[in-house]
Symmetry: C2
Subunit: 201 residues, 2 copies
């Protein structure tokens, strides 16, 4: 958990990789602070202190506070994609979709603040950059691909699917953080979604 990479690609340049390691440490500490005080309440002074720097030194690594949020956004989605990579989905498309749903709820439930950042956008004035948003798109493509394989293809079907996944995750995070009360409803939820399609495949 919380393992992060500052960039997608690796590099051999020792100067660059040291910089990236520092950025990764800053991002990791920022998650820590956000879990303690809330995302919006992260203070650059606290963050700097947590890694043994003074606050102005952070501007070497982030142009602004919004740039830090952008790094968190990208990092969160990178964590999500890695988490999904590490799972191997087997079985019928229906079973795969159930597993995927359960995993997603579990991932959300493991870190409320991260869930907030990825799916609720609670920072007024923050919009992810195109680069960071690409990770979000990658996730949505994977999700719709799995749903499509199980027969959820019409736009209204996808809308309803998205709403149910989102609702389950939210209830899990808000009312039973770290638990699995709503994650356990994943199979029922998928079955009812599949059964509700106007014209079955």
């Amino acid at each position: 958990m919380q393992v992060s990479a500052a960039k997608t690609h690796t590099t051999r340049d020792p100067r660059l990789s040291r910089r990236e390691a520092k950025i990764a440490a800053l991002v990791s500490e920022a998650w820590e602070l956000a879990r303690r005080d809330g995302l919006a309440a992260i203070s650059l002074r606290d963050l700097a202190a947590a890694v043994g720097l003074r606050q102005p030194s952070l501007y070497v690594y982030f142009d602004s506070k919004l740039a830090l949020y952008d790094a968190l956004f990208a990092d969160g989605y990178r964590q999500l994609l890695t988490y999904l990579d590490d799972r191997d989905y087997s079985g019928t498309p229906r079973d795969v979709l159930v597993e995927f749903t359960r995993d997603l709820i579990t991932f959300a439930s493991a870190d409320a603040v991260r869930y907030q950042m990825l799916f609720q956008r609670p920072i007024p004035g923050f919009e992810p950059t195109t680069e960071s948003f690409a990770f979000a798109l990658e996730f949505y493509e994977r999700a719709t691909a799995l749903a499509g394989a199980a027969g959820i293809r019409a736009q209204t079907d996808i809308d309803l699917f998205a709403a149910v996944i989102n609702g389950l995750s939210h209830q899990q995070v808000a009312n039973d953080p770290g638990g699995h009360r709503w994650a356990d409803l994943a199979d029922r939820a998928i079955d009812m979604l599949l059964a509700s399609r106007p014209q079955p495949t």
Copy 2:
């Protein structure tokens, strides 16, 4: 919209009611500011200026900023309950539940910030007082009563119902504010929920 009452009961004392009118105006202006800058970014200076006061004068009406948030929380639920009161639900329990769901999504969609305050709790450190939370409980009782009448009574059924309603509202607010793309899915959502119960009534 945004019509608010500072207290549930009315009073004949002209001094008290003037005070209440002022509080209501402050709450209404606070919603306005929150829609502009976000809930967490409400500034007491701005709020005071918006009603022709100086910032310290607000402390005559609210003991602290959290007290203002508490007033907003209570006001939002009062708006929701009033909104539901004004609708007359007729037909089968299933039809009533569909209407209720649609209304809820519409209400949420009409004001993203209000939705945030009532259902997402985005202010770190803010917890509603028992008095204000009573309005929330009143709402949840009405919702579970309507769901129960349609046959949603088991805890897992209620959990799934809550997740679906919540997910539909969230998607509506986040992706189509003011629209009805997810509100239109209410009847399908209710039917699939009713059909998914392990043991039908």
